[in-house]
Symmetry: C2
Subunit: 456 residues, 2 copies
Amino acid sequence: MRRILVVGANAAGATAASFARKTDREAEIIVVGDEPYSTYSRCGLPFLISGEIRSLEELVTYKPSHFKAMRIDLWLKSKVVDIDRASRVATVRRRDGRVEEVEYDSIILCTGARAWKPPVEGMDLDGVYTLRTVDDCLAVMRKLEHARAGVVVGAGPVGLEVADALRRRSLKVTVVELMDSILPASLDADMARRVQSAVEREGVKVLLKKPVEAVSGDEHVKSVCAGGMEVEADIVVVATGVRANVELGETMGLAVGVTGCLKTDMKLRALEEGRCRPVEDVYCAGDCAESVHMVSKTPSAPQLGTTAVRMGKVAGINAAGGHCTFPGTLGTFASKMFGIEVGSTGLTERHAKKLGMEVVSGKVTWRTRAEYYPGWKHVTVKVVADAETLRIVGCQAVGGERVLGRVNAMALAIQSGMTLQDLSRADFGYTPPLSDVLEPLSLAAEKALKKALGKA
Amino acid sequence: MRRILVVGANAAGATAASFARKTDREAEIIVVGDEPYSTYSRCGLPFLISGEIRSLEELVTYKPSHFKAMRIDLWLKSKVVDIDRASRVATVRRRDGRVEEVEYDSIILCTGARAWKPPVEGMDLDGVYTLRTVDDCLAVMRKLEHARAGVVVGAGPVGLEVADALRRRSLKVTVVELMDSILPASLDADMARRVQSAVEREGVKVLLKKPVEAVSGDEHVKSVCAGGMEVEADIVVVATGVRANVELGETMGLAVGVTGCLKTDMKLRALEEGRCRPVEDVYCAGDCAESVHMVSKTPSAPQLGTTAVRMGKVAGINAAGGHCTFPGTLGTFASKMFGIEVGSTGLTERHAKKLGMEVVSGKVTWRTRAEYYPGWKHVTVKVVADAETLRIVGCQAVGGERVLGRVNAMALAIQSGMTLQDLSRADFGYTPPLSDVLEPLSLAAEKALKKALGKA
C-alpha cells in the first residue's frame, strides 16, 4: 500500500490529497499542516474583516470531517522539519511536541508562502500586521475595534481588498504603493487609473511611487513614513507580497527558480538542484511551486488560489500513480472592490514589453447592458496581442459588472491561440438586460487590429 | 460616386449603412424602411410591455439625426416594390404614395422576417397578437390595460419573454408549446426543465406537446384550444417563430435555402437561383439571410439581433467596395426571464444528433460565488462535445447570475476548436464574490471527458 505525505494543509495540499484519494482508493494519505485550523480560504480573509462574511468557520473549505470521510489523516499544528529524500523518511514534529519519523512513497510539497515585509524600522511595532493567516486576520480584527486611521502598504489585490474592508469598517484609509500605479502585476497603468478613481471615489487616499521608509511609534504604531511623507495610522497592514517557503525543499536538494519558488516539470515533480532532472516521487504544488507561463513560456508563479487548486490536482493524481500534466498558467486574476470588478489574464502590455515582445493593444469603454435598459454600467476592456502574429496575449477589464466572464473568455482565447481577427468575428450572445448588441471585447479587438494594420 | 441602396431600416440595414459609410466616405447611401419608425431594437419590445423600459423612444437605437450625421438618406414608410437586377434600378413607393425609380450600384437586402401564425381558426380575432413590430407592441400594451388572462403560444425566447412581461403586469399567464420542452431550439430537454421550473415558480403555467387547434371567441378572443384543452384568455400572443421576407429576392431570381432565407456566399453576396453563383453587388444581411453554422457547416439562419448586426457590417463593407467575410454563426443566444439567466451557443445534444453526430456531454450545477460568500446562486452548465475528436460543439447554461459570460467564453472555445481537455485545464479567474475557486465549465468538461473515455 502506497503512503502519500502532503506537506501543507492549504488549498494546494487539501486538493492534492483529495485527488490522490480519487486516484488511489487504497493509499494511506497524511496531510501535515502547521496552523491550528483545517484548510481555509485565504482569499476570504479580507471579507471577514469587512464583515461581508460573518464567522471564521465559514471560511473553512475542508472541514476535518471532510478529511475523515475521505480517509485522509489530517495532522494539524504539526511541522515537517526534515526529509531524507534517499530513504524517503520525513521527520515530523506533532502538536504534542513528539517528533516522529514517517516513511512515505511519494511526497507533495505544498509549503506555501509567507508574507514579506520591507526591511525598514518599526515593522515590529504593535498595530502593524500582514494578512496571510487566520491568526493575522484575527489580530487585525481585534485591533480594528479601536482603530480610526489605517495605512495599507502595497496596492496589490490583497492590499486593495484590505483597504476596502477597512473603509467599510469606517476607518480613514491611505494606501501607499512603491510603483507608479496600483495593481502593477495585473494591470497596465492606464487601466489601473480607472481602478484608482474608484478607490479614491470611496474616500481612500492612494499614494504612488512612495517607498516605505519607516513605521513610527512607541510600542504602538503612530505613523508611516513613505516617500518623505508622514501618514498617521493606528493600524498598518503590510501587503507587499509573499515569499515562497522553500527551505524544506532546499534542504532536500531541490532547485529554486527565478521566481523564488521550487522548480517543477510538467508533472509537477520537483527538479534536482543543479541538474534540472526531475526527482521521482517528490511533487510541488501551490504558492511554493514554479510553473511556466502559457504565453511567454517563461517561469511563472502567480501564487493564486486557483493555481494552487489546479496544481494540487495534478500533483495529487501523479503522486498517487496517475498521469496528469500541468499546462502552465495565465495568472488569471479577479477581484471585486470599491464597488467595481477588476480582472486580468495573460500578459499586460508592460509585462510583454519587459519580455521583449512587440505588442499592439485595443481598449474600449462600453455599456454592460443595452443603452435603453436601466442600470447599465461601464466596463473597460483592453486586449493585448502580439504585433506580428496578432495572437492575443493578454486582456484586462475594469467595470461595474460582468468583468470576470469577459476575462475568463479571454483566458480561453489566449489558451487556444486566437487572433484579433478571430475575436473581432466571434459570435457573442446578446440580450438587453445582460449585454449590449455590440460586445466590447470584439470592439477592442477591432481597434487593436486597425492599429496593427496601420489604419489608425 | 457609388450609390448604395439598403432595403430595410432594421438592425441589419442600419448597421450595413453605417459600415458602408465608414468604408466609402463619398458614397450616396439610401436606407428604405417600411415602418414609420427609425431603427429600433426588436429585442427590447418585451421589456416595454413589462414596464422595465418606460418609453418607445428609448428603443430607437438609430435616430433620424444619427442617419443625418452619417449623411445617410433615411426613407421611412417607404417600400421597395421591384428591383431590376440587370439595369440596377429599384422601384420604391415613397411615404407620399409617389413611386420612384432609384438607380443603384450595389444593393443590400435586409428585408427581415415577419411573424408567422399557425393556420388555425380564430387567429384574426381581436385580442390575438404577434410581437414583431412596434405597432404589434403598442397593440398588446393597449389591450393589456383591461386584460386579466393571457395565453402565449410558443415557448421560444420571445414567447417566454412576453409571458414574463404579462406576469409582471399581473396577468394570469399560460404558455402553450407544441414541442416536448421549452426553448427547443436553444436547449436540450434536461436544461429546459430547469428554466421551466423557474417559469412555473413565478406562477406561469406551461403546457407542453400541445398543438394549437383554434382560437375561440366572438369578435374578441375568449379562449385558446390546444391539444384538446381549452384555456381562457382575453389576450393571446402568438410567438411561433418568423418567416423570412424573401419575396423581393425571389422576384430578382435569388436563391432561397433550406432555412427559408436567401442564400449567401462568404462575402454575403446573394446567390443566383439554380446556379449557386454569387450575384455581384447584391448583398443580404439579417433575418432574411442564410449563412453557415460554424460547427456543423450546414445552412443556418438563427435570425438573432447579433447576427443581424454582424452580417450588416460585412454586407455594408463589401457593398461599399471593401473586403470582409462572414465567418458563420453559432446561434449564441441569451435571455433573462423569470429571475434567471439562460444562454446557449453552438449545437445542443438534440441538434447534434439530428445532424448524425455522435456527441458526449457533461453537466454540472455549481455555485456562482464562493460557498461562504453570501448571495450565491446556482448555475447549471452543460458542455457538448464531439465524441471522437472531443472538440466542444455546444454549451448551454441556466442560472441565477453570470450565465452570459460563460456562454460567451464557450462561443470562443467552440470557434477556436478547443477540446474537453483544453477546457478542463483552462486558467479561469477567481474571487469569492464573483466565482467559486472551481469553475463549473471545467467541471462539466471533466465529466464529459470521463464519459468519453469510458470511465463513468
